[in-house]
């Protein structure tokens, strides 16, 4: 089975995880931003930063995944060093 690395629990089967969708920049909030956030989700032919949850331990974290190859490049907790050095979504 495909493996996802939970930043707290280590490598686990992907079936233990729930996909929660893209990480949004929460700074601005005009009407246009709201519309985009609700309906116009990013769909890049490349890497997306997204929220995941390890269900048994309820660990919510960020993963970077390539949307064309399904390769998981990195995963880390919000606010960790890895998160601070990540490029914005």
């Amino acid at each position: 089975m495909k493996i996802m690395t939970c930043p707290v629990n280590g490598p686990r089967n992907i079936s233990e995880f729930q996909w929660l969708g893209p990480v949004h920049d929460t700074a601005e909030a005009t009407d246009a931003d709201l519309l985009n956030r609700l309906f116009f989700a990013p769909n890049p032919m490349g890497v997306l930063r997204e929220w995941w949850r390890h269900t048994p331990s309820n660990t919510v974290f960020i993963a970077e995944r390539d949307l064309t190859t399904d390769e998981i490049l990195r995963s880390y907790l919000k606010g960790s060093d890895a998160d601070r050095t990540a490029s914005p979504a």
Binding site: M1, I14, W19, L35, A41, N43, L48, E50, L67
Partner: protein, 413 residues
């Protein structure tokens, strides 16, 4: 007919013929350029050339003819949706299937055998009642049946009385059916080509020339062409193509997987699905049981398959029909679907004056091959969006006028 066939068989000197002519050289310019040689693009080309006198048309297909989702779908044709605009639109779609073989002189093997959707929960039963009332109101054949009604329609279903997935009842849609997907695309392609439409296989659109609010040229791997009007019908790649034209669509890609078993003697004469188990079954005319369900649980633009998804489909199928447990799987595959937030398509105008959208067909667009082609052809030919398409406009999202069909589509297509 039989005599004609006999005469044909005995005749000497048979000339080989092509249903679909070989790809010609690209012209410098076309009145209409259609991006995507799937069922939708080919149907639009047919209706343009047959009913609107527009024959200087190119269909550009990056791979082989109808090798995208048209080739991968599980061919459910139905109109049991929830909102009135959807029911009316899909009802027209089903009625076109009823006459498609005659219209095209090409056997699309439409079999209107009815679709039974099972409820294993009170919530599902409630939503069925709503859908049945909406459907009756909009003139489609649909009714709620109880557990005995389910047994009568499909005696093979495991009712699981007292079990975890007890069948409480169902939604019976007598208008539902299935057709041969390849034949639908080939039929439209053959007749469109006869009318003068050029079908260009292995011709990939790589970009656009835009000046002001108009597309002026379409760039391809085989050269650049001028276009009067452009119609986009690129299946899973719809979001990407629109982006090349500078248009952002509310579309995300999700894989959708399906599989078929080895052929069995005919026993299943309806389309069977379960909204709680996210599984549906249909027996093809070859006898194979086609098994499908919901999309993958996360976004991806790839046609790779996964074992967990296949296991989930097999689990659902065995719950519905435990006697299938020794049956072998023959083939499995996936397609990239272009999913919208409300599980309804995006049809009609774009921010560019001469660029038209037939997109967001996700997991549910095969049944609309005829009607989308017909209505989009009308749109392009008259530069006016017909009333039946208006609710599906791209700007419905900024008006918050969504057509939520998730409950009627996500597990059943």
């Amino acid at each position: 007919m039989p005599l004609e066939l006999l005469k044909y068989g005995l005749r000497r000197g048979h000339k080989p013929f092509h249903d679909i002519p070989p790809t010609p050289d690209l012209r410098r310019s076309y009145d209409v350029v259609i991006i995507g040689g799937g069922g939708h693009g080919l149907a639009a080309a047919y209706y343009l050339s047959r009913y609107h006198g527009i024959t200087n048309v190119a269909v550009l297909e990056k791979g082989y003819l109808a090798g995208g989702n048209t080739a991968r779908n599980t061919t459910t044709v139905r109109s049991n949706y929830l909102t009135i605009p959807s029911i009316e639109f899909y009802r027209e779609g089903v009625s076109l299937f009823e006459n498609m073989s005659h219209e095209l002189g090409f056997n699309v093997m439409f079999s209107q055998r009815g679709q039974l959707t099972l409820a294993h929960s009170d919530g599902a039963m409630r939503s069925f009642r709503l859908r049945a009332e909406m459907g009756k109101h909009a003139g489609t054949r649909i009714e709620v049946v109880d557990a005995r009604g389910v047994q009568k329609i499909c005696p093979h279903v495991n009712m699981d009385f007292g079990g975890q997935h007890e069948v409480l009842g169902g939604l019976w849609h007598a208008d539902g059916g299935t057709a041969r997907h390849d034949a639908v695309a080939w039929g439209y392609a053959k007749r469109a080509a006869e009318n003068g439409v050029q079908i260009h296989q292995r011709t990939e659109v790589t970009g656009f020339g835009v000046s002001g609010d108009r597309v002026t040229e379409v760039r391809t791997n085989r050269g650049t062409i001028q276009a009067g009007q452009v119609l986009q019908a690129a299946g899973g790649m719809n979001g990407r193509i629109a982006e090349m034209a500078g248009i952002r669509l509310p579309i995300r890609c999700f894989p959708l997987q399906a599989m078929v078993t080895q052929p069995l003697k005919p026993f299943l004469d309806i389309l069977l699905s379960s909204s709680d188990l996210h599984t549906y079954l249909v027996q093809s005319s070859r006898g194979e049981i086609v098994i499908g369900g919901g999309t993958d649980p996360y976004q991806l633009a790839s046609t790779r398959s996964t074992l967990p998804q296949k296991e989930a489909l097999a689990t659902g199928a065995l719950q519905l029909m435990p006697f299938l447990h020794n049956v072998k799987l023959l083939r499995q595959w996936a397609g990239i679907t272009d999913i919208t937030p409300d599980f309804s398509p995006i049809m009609g105008a774009s921010p560019l004056q001469n660029y038209w959208l037939d997109a967001g067909w996700g997991t549910w667009g095969f049944k609309a091959t005829g009607v989308a082609g017909k209505r989009m052809a009308e749109t392009v030919a008259t530069a006016r969006v017909p009333d039946i398409l208006r609710p599906f406009a791209l700007d419905r999202f900024s008006r918050f006028e969504l057509l939520n069909e998730m409950g009627a589509t996500a597990a059943g297509h």
